[in-house]
Amino acid sequence: MLGEIDFERQEAFSCFEVLNSGLFPWDLEDVFPGGNREMTLLKIKELLDARVLAGEEHLDTEVTTAFSADLMSDVLAFAKPGSIMITGLTNPQIVRIASIVDNSAILIVRGKIPPDETITLAEELGIPVLSTKYILFETSGRLYANGIVGCIRKIEGPGSVVPL
């Protein structure tokens, strides 16, 4: 185990050593309880080199939590108000779901561009839509590394649903 990392020495450490050194956080939630308050849609756009497809005027909205899913029933079950929905789906239903659970925005991954109906509906319901070329895993990881946390961390009990 490393006591301290001497960056001057430029010695190569394995990821495992670095993470176990205690100098880097394993768990972002220990550093940002409830999420990094400094994250906004604009910062997310920049981090992920995303295109804004709807709701350009809402980019100053603060976002601290996220839920990634291609299953809309899971979004209905677990997404918290104000969280960003990260998905690979593009149909208009994603906008209606976001409106039902009060998502702050929708972030579409894998470079997909939704059909016009989705964008028109998003403008109508006031929900920003962004699109990034990063895949779902990369997108979630990059946001987590910047202090965006999940709506829930894990399911309690044997596959039961956490009470809303």
Binding site: L76, R96, D102, V161
Partner: protein, 140 residues
């Protein structure tokens, strides 16, 4: 003040493109009646899942809502094939959905479970080849 509000919406089976439209409208109406926060969310989620169910499985149906001083009562009634095994249908992960439903991001066997989870009382009655009646209530 003993005020009561009632409204009802028909839902057309198979109308996949409009999935969620009625739920959004109902949420807007409930918001206008001063319902907010967790109660509004749970009601909206239960109604959305119900709307998806009618569109996905039934021929036609109806969502009716009664708002009283202390609760929101929702009846979801449909004419359709009904549910042969309710116990199985209530289980997480059990689904008879086809590709059309799965493409929309549904059909993972979470619907009825989600609805029950959002409700304070939940009752389901179904008759094969006739239809299904779901009666739920959410305390304000």
């Amino acid at each position: 003040m003993n005020q009561e509000y009632k409204f009802s919406f028909p839902v057309e089976g198979g109308n996949f493109d409009d999935t969620g439209k009625i739920s959004i409208e109902i949420k807007r109406l409930l918001k206008g009646l001063g319902i907010a926060g967790d109660v509004l969310r749970r009601t909206a989620i239960a109604i959305y899942e119900s709307e998806v169910n009618i569109i996905s499985y039934a021929w036609r149906g109806n969502i009716s809502i009664r708002v009283t001083d202390d609760s929101i009562l929702i009846n979801i009634q449909d004419s359709g094939p009904g549910i042969t095994d309710i116990e199985k249908a209530m289980q997480q992960g059990y689904s008879t959905a086809d590709d059309r439903i799965r493409e929309m991001g549904f059909g993972a066997g979470m619907g009825l479970f989600n609805i029950k989870n959002c409700s304070d009382s939940f009752e389901i009655l179904s008759e094969t080849s006739k239809g299904t009646l779901l009666k739920i209530s959410i305390n304000r």
